[in-house]
Amino acid sequence: MQDLPLETGSLIFLAGYLLSLLIIGWFASRQRQDRSLGDYYLGGRGMGLWVLMLTLFATQYSGNALFGFTGQAYRVGFTWLAILHSMIAVVAGYLLFAPRLQRLSREQQFITPTDYIEFRFPSRALSALVALCFMIVLINYVLAQLKVMGLMVEGLSGGQVDAFWGVVMLAIIMMVYSTMGGMRSVAWTDAIQGAMMLTGFILIALIIERDMGGWSPAFAQLRDIAPEKLAPPEGRAAVTWFSTVVLIGIGASVYPQAIQRIYAARSARTLQQSLAGMAVLPLFAVVVVLALGFVAIARFPGLEGAAADQVMALIMRDVLSTGWFGHAVVTLLLGAILAALMSTADSALLTLSSIFAKDIYGKYIRPTASDAGCARVGQWCAWLILGGLVWLSTQENLTLYRLFVLKFEILLQIAPAFYFGVNFPSLRTTPIMLGLVTGLCVAVSGWSLGWMPFGLHPGTVGLLCNVLMIMSAHSFYAIKPSGTQSSN
């Protein structure tokens, strides 16, 4: 990340923010009712409207949202507006399964996303495959956040702190508070992050208008410098637009950590109201983030590839030079970015540890283990995984957007199990299993080969194959004479 000449006051603010996370963790640990998995991983299923809405928002808008979205807007121009529709489509996607899932989770006391799969489609092989997919996605997710954390600390310290040690420091803070308070501390820190991020976006939009020449001249300059980036998507690009909305809209709605938040909602009404709020937030958050990327095309021409992910930092450097107000806004935004990275990583890590503790350790390794024992194993597992990922985060060489897409390719294949499972009671296990395997094979092989037929993402093609396979297998079982069907 670009070096940002912050003043001592700003650094004290950021240090104070990090300290406050530990206090939140301590406070959340005091709120724990018991040592059960439900209390640790779902905050006792008592999440209220504002915390739920902001934690869902924070789950959707990670470090990728700030650096990856602006970077992609810079690279491809206005066709990246697809992400705005995608983020609203995520909420539309929730509406198709979340209310029923929340009700079921109350009745059946689900803890992990895989619990629903196992309840609805009683097959060990299927639930193990889904758990494995979720773990791969979550590891990818944490890795992406850690990479940005390292770059950020390096940039904020003017290169004095190495990216590796920056990640280590933030990872330790993150693990301490999430180990102490579980979902409560994670959700509370998410809520703070969401509020800071929204405020920061609105203020930075005002600063660009007031102190940096305004939006209108910036767009006029953009028309002169790069008119091709204002062009609407045509041909393959139009198909990619559609594919992006499907990929992110459906994929992000089955984020495992988001599903746990659905379980954690205090009531169905709380969930409904939170989702309603979630549908409006992209109009503020995503529009400003994209506009920043577009403005940067004219302001910082010539950045290519991974370098474009730095445009957010470059804009903040310019905002810093506008005076004390700009300094305050950048400090707030940096705090929000730091919070976004940490809260996304801790949410993913918490879900990862719950899947390991309940779906692997509690089922296959030590089925007799108590809830408290499973929770303890989950905590240790989170530390170990994080240690490995911290090391890995300094080894990889992928751009943020590529990391971002990979997880959707997999998530998209799991989505039918939730969407169809909740809405079609007659659907059996075998069609879902066949669909998932087919979709995964197509999506992952397509991704590794860099294959995009007609501009469609491999994940979208995989989903099409997945759904076709489910429909075919479902029809096959439906027309089989009675008595020849398997129990599934």
């Binding site: 507006l81 705005l84 529709h85 539309a92 509406l95 045509e234 409904q272």
Partner: protein
């Protein structure tokens, strides 16, 4: 009747969503004369479509779902 309305709303939302996603196909040329103000016309149409979609989803969350009784 209420259930029918909910189902209708659900399908209407999906149809509208599909239409909104198709917008870039129908504005291949920026011939609306809106080019003069900040960004091309197709961008404004897309933004308006996003606002409509958002409003529809809010309506869906508060009125159209869920079909189980609210606690």
């Amino acid at each position: 009747m209420t259930q029918q309305l909910k189902d209708r709303g659900r399908w209407a939302s999906l149809v509208l969503l599909s239409i909104l996603l198709g917008i870039p196909w129908y504005w291949p040329e920026d011939n609306f004369g809106w080019q003069a103000w900040l960004v091309p016309g197709w961008v404004w149409v897309t933004l308006v479509a996003a606002i409509v979609l958002s409003a529809l989803v809010v309506w869906g969350a508060l009125r159209g779902w869920p079909d189980e009784p609210v606690e």
